[in-house]
Amino acid sequence: MNALLVCSACGGFVPPVVSTCPHCAAGVSSAPVARRRGAGWVARRAAVAGFSMTLMACYGGGPNDGIYYTDAYCEPGPADAAPACETDACPPAADASTVPRCAPQPDAAP
């Protein structure tokens, strides 16, 4: 499976086989463009977009693991390293008082 790119103009996904964005017609450079997520975002995040998926089915309920899916769950690490949760699923926090493995620790600098 070829990874999708992300258009820097509109943020939509772009198939690697096209030269212009199918959403906004902006030119697409050869290098993948990352979605900004604050300081330390990793450029190759876009190149591995779609690496994992959430199991879903109609008649099912959405994933209800609570804190597992909060924004704080998969914060990236150093700028030159992929987030740990990109390549393996972090186990859910044992309870609401436990900071997920990938999240910044309370006393860490932002």
Binding site: N2, T54, Y73, A89
Partner: protein, 412 residues
């Protein structure tokens, strides 16, 4: 055994990780959009003993989570025994319910049996929901079910199938569900399956999809701040500009639709033991075997009807989908939705990107019913696509909820 709902898809290890199991077709409501036309039980539903053996087979198949559905799963005499058995086997048991008889006592029994979570189906604000469910008081019962489940210590969520009756009510419905304490809301679109196929005026038109995506992603951003996750069902999408925001389980995720997972990581079981790749798939075309006749593993591994999505390529696509720039990854979206319209998958007009692309060309696709469904569980009629100017009149826009609930036969 993990019960994680996240899956690294490049591993290629196809197995029924997520299973939706119709324990009984017997139901205490008569919803006007019910795909399975639930009401009376099927003639030869699995007994409790047979169901417990299925649990063992699911564990051997490395199933992570089983969603128990119906009809109403709690109407099966062995419901709690099956919940206990799933839990004991290391499989996460969850329940999707209309909630009409989900009392405090039942909620307590479910919690004691090890049920992990409950998703209550809520299909609009009070008047609309009661009209869809065809039971006065159904909305109040659904909210009571949420309350009872939460009080019993169960995780609670809701699920909504969006159509033209409840489309105006999404934001108000979110407020109601958030106030009820849900932590997850699954939103999908009503597909012309079963009783919904009898009511074409209920259905969204393809050009409704981009606006729906915008509204769902806006609600999703709001919901994250409240600690609530909104996720799209598999037939809501695909590859609009908001796809990542729509599909990801976190606010900054980069998930996108990865194709139909029926028979890949998802499986459906009907109450008489029929096995198919996804719970919504049309029984006539997709049941690959029955558990009274063959073991689950054999059906999963050897039935061609379970394998249709495993080797799908762009060569299997037709119409707009065959030449879409996202064809290779999307593969025409949700299989049962496309099949419900045209009698075969591979071309799906319920698509955000497709509707937006046509709008940019000044056009839109209208779904026109040409033949009605015969009247069996998980059946469908047939539709044609009418290409029209984007600003063409839409006489169906302002129909009342009552008008949308009225069945209409179309002779093909």
């Amino acid at each position: 055994m993990t019960t994680d709902r996240r899956l690294p898809v490049l591993q290629g290890d196809l197995h029924p990780a997520y299973v939706v199991w119709e324990l009984t077709l017997r139901c205490d409501q008569a919803c006007r959009h019910c795909g399975s036309r639930a009401g009376p039980a099927r003639p030869e539903e699995l007994t409790t003993a047979e169901a417990l053996d299925v649990v063992s087979q699911l564990a051997a198949a490395r199933t992570r989570e089983v969603v128990l559905i119906g009809g109403e799963a709690y109407l099966h005499e062995g419901f709690l025994d099956i919940v206990r058995a799933l839990r004991a086997a290391g499989i996460r048991p969850t329940l999707t319910t209309g909630g009409r008889a989900f009392t405090a006592a039942l909620a307590a029994d479910c919690a004691a049996a090890g049920l992990f979570s409950v998703s209550v189906s809520v299909d609009g604000l009070q008047a609309t929901h009661d009209a869809v469910r065809a039971v006065p008081g159904s909305f109040d019962a659904a909210l009571s079910a949420l309350h009872n489940a939460r009080a019993a210590g169960l995780r609670i969520g809701a699920n909504t199938t969006v159509n033209r009756a409840n489309l105006p009510e999404l934001e108000g419905l979110y407020d109601t569900l958030a106030a009820a304490g849900i932590t997850v809301w699954q939103v999908q679109i009503t597909t012309p399956l079963g009783r919904a196929a009898d009511r074409p005026e209920l259905l969204l038109q393809p050009w409704d999809l981009p606006g729906l995506e915008d509204r769902v992603t806006a609600l999703k951003a709001q919901a994250f701040r409240a600690g609530i996750l909104i996720m799209p069902g598999n037939n809501l999408g695909y590859f609009g500009r908001g796809e990542a925001r729509l599909r990801s389980p976190s606010a900054q995720g980069a998930d996108h639709w990865l194709g139909c997972q029926a028979g890949r990581y998802v499986m459906g079981i009907e109450s008489d033991g029929g096995v198919k790749g996804c719970p919504s798939l049309q029984s006539d075309a997709y049941i690959g075997g029955h558990l009274r006749d063959r073991p689950l593993a054999e059906i999963w591994n050897e039935s061609p009807r379970l394998a249709f999505a495993r080797a799908r390529t762009v060569e299997d696509l037709w119409g707009f989908c065959a030449t879409c720039p996202f064809a290779a990854v999307c593969l025409a979206g949700c299989s049962f939705t496309a099949h419900a319209l045209f009698g075969r998958p591979g071309n799906n007009p319920y698509c955000v990107f497709r509707a937006e692309a046509l709008r940019q060309a000044g056009q839109r696709e209208r779904l026109v019913p040409v033949s009605s469904a015969p009247g069996r569980p998980f059946d469908h009629g047939l539709f044609e696509i009418a290409l029209e100017p984007y600003d063409a009149p839409d006489p169906g826009r302002d129909l009342s909820v009552a008008d949308r609930m009225r069945p209409r036969r179309v002779s093909g």
